[in-house]
């Protein structure tokens, strides 16, 4: 994911997915504050934004440390477990299964 050496404080992002990322994050943040925390969680949202952003990431995210965490059809991160200690899988915000 980019070169090993980066200038400190360079904030004009070099990521080719920057615009799609911003669109997704804006959508997610709105959904989170206006729907999710208020218990309005029935409808899937930000689907189009997520699909475009995720497609860009899967093309450009070449760092091996990170790409293995990129959402596939079923995502299991051993660090995330439910109360029984089982890794979790579920419906996505913005992704289709």
């Amino acid at each position: 994911m980019g070169p090993n050496r980066e200038k400190k404080g360079s904030h004009s992002s070099t990521s080719p997915c920057a615009n799609l990322r911003a669109a997704y994050h804006n959508c997610f943040n709105r959904w989170y504050s206006e729907k999710f925390v208020k218990g309005l969680w029935e409808k899937e949202e930000c689907i189009s934004e997520w699909q475009k952003y995720r497609a860009c990431l899967s093309e450009h995210l070449d760092d091996k440390h990170l790409s293995r965490f990129l959402e596939a059809e079923v995502v299991v991160d051993p660090a995330i477990q439910d109360d029984s200690g089982n890794p979790v899988d579920g419906a996505s915000v913005g992704g289709r299964r």
């Binding site: 090993n4 943040n29 504050s33 952003y53 990170l66 990129l70 991160d77 995330i80 979790v88 579920g90």
Partner: protein, 186 residues
């Protein structure tokens, strides 16, 4: 050698607003001028469990690697990739973040766990943040004589970044509060 410490902080804002701010902390563009060590933040997965109603997100956070020039010379890199996993339970109003570096693990392992819960004394209006950090510097021969100094340097950096992060969070909470007042007025 492992250094472990905990920081606690109270936000005088409701849990819903504080957790919204937590998600925005690294992604809102205006904060990047302040959080200069954060280079890139990408969402890698986002799952909403329809049965438990919990939200699970995984993000990649690429940071500029703090350390003096001779450390960077030994490591050979200036950036570090971290994975941040978050579980939010909106029904019980709890958020837990777990963050760890997934590169440079031969040199150092830093694990952070942050919890946001309603404050027991004022659960509808205040939020308590509990932030645990574990720093494990690996016993590299090249660093043996200065290991303790390096470790202390990282502790100082974490404390400094945490303080800056909290300032940013407070700012976002103030903004969200003003925004919600404006919406109610319309």
């Amino acid at each position: 050698m492992v250094k472990a410490f905990t920081q606690e902080y109270v936000y005088k804002h409701p849990w819903e607003r504080v957790t919204s701010a937590s998600y925005r902390k690294f992604t809102d563009h205006e904060n990047r001028r302040i959080l200069t060590h954060i280079l890139e933040v990408d969402t890698l997965s986002c799952k909403h469990d329809p049965i438990s109603k919990k939200l699970y997100t995984t993000r990649a956070v690429t940071v500029h690697f703090p350390g003096p020039w001779f450390i960077r010379k030994i490591i050979g890199q200036e950036i570090c990739h971290c994975i941040e996993s978050t579980v939010v339970d909106a029904k019980s109003r709890s958020m837990q973040l777990s963050s760890r570096n997934v590169s440079l693990q031969k040199f150092i392992e830093v694990e952070e766990k942050i919890r946001y819960d309603p404050h027991p004394d004022n659960p509808s209006r205040w939020t308590v943040c509990r932030h645990e950090t574990n720093i494990h510097l690996k016993p590299l021969p090249a660093l043996a004589s200065i290991a303790e100094k390096v470790e202390q340097r990282y502790v100082e950096k974490v404390v400094k970044y945490s303080a800056t992060g909290r300032e940013v969070m407070e700012r976002i909470c103030t903004y969200l509060e003003a925004e919600s007042r404006e919406i109610r007025r319309l």
